[in-house]
Symmetry: C3
């Protein structure tokens, strides 16, 4: 009889929560975590139930450390002794490194951190934390705040404006407006400003008052001084690999009109297959087997997951910098360019003295960008991912198309910049702030929306984004309107 | 052996049709309904099969009435005796209240209503029908038709235009154009204009001719005089709770560019989790258990479902007015404002004498809007929903951000209104019809598309809608273009 | 015991790969195909695993030929003897008709075609290949390339532009730009330019160099001279019916802003039901049973699948021309019109001598379009599909609304054309190229984006596309702006 039960579970688990080889017995929960659960399953049931569906709730780090190398999700070679033997629960994470946490507070006899940071997750996942810390995501806030060009753009967009006697008067940008727009994805600087007492169903509790909170942006600066937010992708307490690998997770920030990666993906054959047949896939396998576990790539498959072939041979290593398979940066600022060497892009200085990877004329700030050799190496890494499903002719043809597209899109941006420069020279616009007049804002659209759409659409095979949907059609129409504005007398 | 069968069904039913505790035996079908089915499973198989998947096809009202309070889907304390003992089939619904139905007709010996209305559904679901009838949805058609400002806007948009010697000539808006645009969601006034004879596969039949039909708008006026359409959300004959709770149901009407609630949701972490992991949830449980049945809210979870915690304690009551957890109305007309007291918003009079919840300058029509106390009460109700998964610091921080965003978005609308007023004063535009010139239409975009996107994006955490996707970027760029139009001499 | 196992499989298969009655034993694989697999499951595991999930991998043509008529997927009455007894593997498809394939090459001792074409698939699926070959899809490339009006539009959009002394200079359109935009969906002309040697993990191999490759557009001209690409919809080696029937497959090309069929569908009640409840459907049944297998139509259900009712009676025949149920062409060029008789629309000549289905003034090129009788016949065919779920009053009302909408949308286009003609007459624009000035590009938006959205939105019940989302709102606002441009002195 019991063989049937086992058979049933074996057959049914693929439709259940994150599976893989999990111990059948309930994990050993620490006393502290059990105390948390006893209250919180009443007061914040959503969190507790989510956690119960996680591997964290059912495995101890000690068990994780015994797994074969390719299957390991714990990248530490060992973990602190006090963590080894219990499952990874509320207290294990929310009490880490308390001394460095300005958001630590006393809560029913325990010292709790409100925010669990990359530094805390790094206890068991140090490789991921280190990789992430080097990449652009961990620097995403600094890269806006410490880059005066981008700060000017941010403030031009989100500053208050008022009408005084029929003319528009510029105002200031509020912290709130920045936090709800650019910083929502880029991250905020979370501080602590004293405590307050709140009435809850569990009675009065005293909690720290966090500033610029809530926020889950990828470059968040945390109250322990660390940068980043693992929860951006590994969200809320289930830490589901399936969630992290589903395209809509990346799509929260990488979406049209400025970074239409998610939209292009959904329109592509890859996205079409994922949307149609993804319900058959094994989303949480580690390593992730091309063909066996999934039959079309997602964002994670191409850009950061550990991929193996049918024989278990490694096709691509896991990456949490997210750019180890990227040789070129499509996201044009204002043209495409080799990936920057450092995640801290605000440290770049181009030939015009600006902290931008290229000049407005498209000249790359070469010393700050990866070398042609490194570009070639990364291109080869991505090529190996593609050839897991496609022949060499297909892949090389695809790459060649992308090369040409980048050059053409950059050329179209250059034309827009030429028209704007003429308007500046002719005093039809004022170059002091390049972002606050209508013609300048049209110029921003040309590179930030339209040229980017063309680039992403070509890279990931979503042709409507190269054509009518923010692509060549808008590039051309926008240029023509800029031309007619700059040359009002002769329309053509 | 049979325990295995039961086990199998127990394990498999979550993937099957709307489940929950249903009687295993086939329901008792009335003679009349069986006659309907005998023909219609041949001629309209889609309807019949859909109904077979429903609870209606498998439970009698009498059985529904025996359920514990929180699990009940029948809100009547008793139902007419003739309905008690049979499942709820074709005839039970399509023969209700025949005397009041102008669309009633003789059909193979039965008197049938074409349309089943909220008044009919109210036989077993009176609480829902009553709540719905009080809300804005049931008044959605009147709120357009009887409000001269909105009628003017509707007609400005959908009226025919023609070119005569190179100038645009305004024409009339057709009923068809109204029905296919605004009234498709708001509802039409369905009338009956005699009968006609149609040739069908079942032979010649004579049927009533309905006007302004088909339509499933939420404020539809039905041939029995009732207002509303349950089928807008509880569609076609399966009456699936899963369907009603899935976000795309709400998204049919609440979508960009004017009411981007659905789009913002999909971009939010809530939507990301639902899209990625929703296949694991129990979508049709009543009551709906936070954490246990679902791990991220959908539209229904936040706005109208009956929610309980793990212990079965009520977190929020079911609502079919849809505004019991809403203290402020984000949908700006033209600025945000406290929710109106009555669903019949066309009865409002503001300080300018217009039937709008605020003046163009943003002054609320206070007597027609809910009080600060009622606002506070509703805010607390929503706060309880949020705190089922989030700590108080998170929730209060989120609400505070929304408060600031509303004030800033309203300020940006005011700036646009100021520029338009200047244009009117300077005779650059004609204030008689505020919707028919290009500058005025830009002004409409500012509040209807862009400020609304900012508000919804902030309320539901979809930052791109606050930023580049119809948000601050468009608000700013649109204002700048309005400014340059109104002040042609000095561009800046 | 074994009955339980069978029961388990019976219950579980709906969630597995494409099912239906498949032989339990592994299919008989040809020696050649086995050789392919032995290498490729190592080097291109994605392809091989995908194929393993297919019916092709588990059934022989001989078995397919024994199926009852309505269930048959093989439309040939017999297939070549050498193909009959093995499953349909790598070699069976990639070695077909080698003599006519310019892309044939020697590969480890086998003569392999890179591309499998409709002519090759036609070996077993001749009816589908023939139907497809007659339709507009197979002619999609010619219909752009050989139509000088459309070629002019394509090149106006994707030609390079540069700024010289502040004025915009037109450049040439590259083949790459055409391939990455319009031709990505319409298809490219794939040629062969010699061979090259590539280093792969399997050692050095020599492969043909294909030009205009990769491409999977529906009108691709293949190296064997055939037209079309089955893989556009039946993608990558699983040939999943579920994939072909899922709306996102069609949505790769039929999407906003120019052909918003997919977007409208997703917003419609049909799409809402599919997105919410489609996980319960049987997606790969042949024939496809309305109500039993699915409860709301997808693109395929309305436009090309073989549909039956509960009793197995045929509701609509399978079609691979995709227009047998379409009486009118919504896609306005520039107005709606009866479907063209031939898929080769570039052969049309209208009263102005242009290869367009109507004149700019809307006069149809009647000799090239289907007759009123044929229109009526097709309308009746579609009506039968609709009445499988809807009563006659609903369907006739829906069709009547569409008729009116088409007339109104065409009228709004005519107004735009009238304003543009006035601008040409007044020398405010130059009629030589009707696509390269800002006013002309606004005119293109009016018919290609906005009127099309209104038409599709009305046809498929997605009201936001008739209203605010590229619909009447944009039609009206765009006309008003055109009017104010053409009549600068008097704004109104």
């Amino acid at each position: 009889m019991s063989t049937f039960i086992l058979l049933l579970f074996a057959l049914l688990t693929p439709h259940g929560p994150d599976s893989g080889p999990l111990p059948a017995r309930p994990g050993s929960v620490s006393t502290e975590t059990q105390t948390c659960i006893d209250c919180h399953e009443q007061y914040t049931p959503g969190i507790v139930e989510d956690w119960k569906s996680s591997r964290h709730s059912r495995m101890t780090p000690a068990e994780g450390l015994t797994r074969p190398n390719l299957e390991r999700r714990v990248s530490a070679t060992r973990v602190p002794a006090e963590l080894e033997g219990t499952v990874v629960g509320c207290f294990e994470c929310h009490s880490r490194n308390a001394a460095s946490h300005a958001d630590n507070f006393e809560h029913f006899g325990f010292q709790i951190n409100v925010i669990v940071t990359p530094a805390d997750c790094g206890t068991c996942h140090p490789v991921e934390a280190e990789q992430y810390g080097r990449g652009k995501k961990a620097h995403a806030l600094d890269n806006l705040e410490k880059n005066p060009v981008y700060s000017l753009l941010v403030d031009a967009i989100v500053s208050m404006k008022s009408a005084v006697r029929g003319t528009l008067q510029p105002g200031k940008a509020s912290g709130n407006a920045r936090n709800e727009t650019c910083y929502a994805c880029h991250g905020t600087r979370v501080g602590v400003r004293g405590t307050r007492t709140v009435n809850t169903e569990a009675g009065e509790i005293t909690v720290p008052v966090l500033t610029n909170w809530p926020n889950t942006g990828v470059g968040r600066i945390n109250p322990d001084g660390s940068a980043g937010s693992c929860t951006s992708c590994h969200a809320r307490h289930g830490f589901s690999l399936e969630l992290a690998r589903k395209p809509s997770t990346c799509g929260q920030c990488h979406l049209e009109p400025d970074v239409p990666a998610y939209n292009v993906y959904k329109e592509s054959k890859h996205g079409n297959i994922e949307e149609s047949l993804g319900h058959r896939w094994t989303w949480d396998a580690v390593p992730w087997k091309v063909g066996g576990d999934f039959t079309a790539p997602t964002c994670a498959a191409c850009h950061n997951s550990l991929l193996v072939n049918a024989a278990g041979g490694v096709i691509a290593e896991r990456s949490h910098t997210f750019d180890t398979r990227l040789w070129v940066r499509l996201f044009g600022l204002i043209t495409s360019h080799p990936q920057p060497k450092s995640g801290a892009t605000h440290t770049i200085k181009n030939a015009d003295g600006l902290p931008l990877p290229t000049t407005f004329a498209g000249v790359p700030a070469a010393p700050f960008l990866i070398s042609p050799e490194e570009q070639q190496a990364r291109r080869s890494t991505m090529r190996r991912v593609c050839t897991a499903c496609h022949g060499p002719g297909w892949v090389d043809g695809h790459f060649a198309k992308l090369d040409t597209t980048l050059s053409e899109a950059d050329g179209m941006v250059l034309a827009a910049t030429g028209l704007l420069a003429a308007a500046w020279d002719r005093k039809m616009a004022d170059r002091k702030n390049p972002f606050d007049e209508a013609l300048e804002q049209q110029w921003v659209r040309q590179w930030l929306f339209y040229a980017n759409s063309v680039r992403y659409g070509s890279a990931m095979s979503g042709p409507d984004y190269v054509a009518f949907k923010n692509g060549w059609w808008e590039l051309t129409n926008g240029l023509q309107r800029m031309h007619e504005t700059v040359n009002p007398a002769r329309k053509k």
